[in-house]
Amino acid sequence: MISIKNVSKWYGNFQVLTDCTTEVKKGEVVVVCGPSGSGKSTLIKTVNALEPFQKGDIVVDGISIADPKTNLPKLRSRVGMVFQHFELFPHLTITDNLAIAQQKVLGRSRDEARAKGAKLLERVGLSAHAAKFPGQLSGGQQQRVAIARALAMDPIVMLFDEPTSALDPEMVNEVLDVMVQLAHEGMTMMCVTHEMGFARKVANRVIFMDKGKIEEDCSKEDFFGSPRGERAQLFLSKILQH
């Protein structure tokens, strides 16, 4: 589904990604973790070309990102993304947040888009809030809306960029529950997250990044059983301490 091949990226002279290679197969859930500044958020943003890269290529469902002929907006419309800070559109109601891209990008009718949005909103348990604006919801609620908004586009894969790290602790679980449910339904997912409980529960593979490099790329069992690298061990021990 996603194949990342030898991707390198620089900001000026500073290299943020070094020769990253991995893949996400259909139906797989891959968790990406690593210390802050390790390049994991940058890597996931290269998958739908929100961040450009200078070397290598990424192929999503057979389409090359590096190919200048690729219609990026069209490709992105098939890849769902959930952001750390939700990024709902503050000037639109929840209903319109869910509908606008369906209408303007996929060309669905207003009724069709709203019906689809309403169904997904029910699924994340927020039907009662359809007429509100994002600023009137809690962080956890906003993030669930953001997941519904991405799902409304019928994505072939979902990207999660630290979806719970901006949330108050008591709201983390409501969001993770939605993600777990998605994983169980067979959605292909790539998640940048520190939630190791989530990784244990649903991940097929875990990728560990440090200083712009992929240091570990292995099955969940191997990663939690015996990470090979020293830095991954250190990271795990720090994160699992409490």
Binding site: L75, P90, A101, K104, K132, A150
Partner: protein, 249 residues
Amino acid sequence: MGQYQWNWGIILEEVYGTGEYYYQWLITGLGWTVATALSAWVIALILGSLIGTVRTMPNKWLAGLATAYVELFRNIPLIVQLFLWFFVLPEVLPEQMGTWMKQDMPMPEFITAVIGLGLFTSARVAEQVRTGIMALPRGQRYAGQALGFTLGQTYRYVLLPMAFRIVIPPLTSEFMNVFKNSAVALAIGVTELTFQMRQITGEYAPGNPIEVMTMVSVIYLIMAFSVNRLMAFIERRTQVPGYISGGSK
């Protein structure tokens, strides 16, 4: 000062030998002030939004051009810009066009003032619009793109609706400025409010300048107040529930 003959009724008196009254002159002046300011504002708003938006675009070349535009119109005094349009442009254009501008163009003073004031103000509007767009979190642009919006759609549906709400307070003061700056048009002969005041106090009723100047000032104050109320109304109407705008008071 002691011998100053107060006469607040002067406004109702006839201008000697013209059959017209002073208040009529002031009303005509007010009409030209409003016409100049509003027409210039339309130009400024359209062009300024466009140029401010282009300045935030990823295309370096286009953004650089828009920056040059803003710097050019911001760093030359308005009155000098009006002189350039009025006295210099017809001379440097091909002869036929120059002659047309000087002889056949309808209402040359008014049109020149509108265009000159419009372009001058557009550079300031562009700065405000750019600031508004830059004030949005970068994630909003990402979120629009991640949903498959093209660059144009991202601006149309995501960035500009919020940016314009943010810039309403600074645009209010630009809108007020356009009324105040329209007075500069008297320098090329537009018979707006301050022009009329100068004419009355200078030639026709030199004995009562304080009364006339006071009345004209009050008219400007009323205009400023009206613009302020209008913009406050628009700001209230466009408010987003649950969103605290950083710019408003």
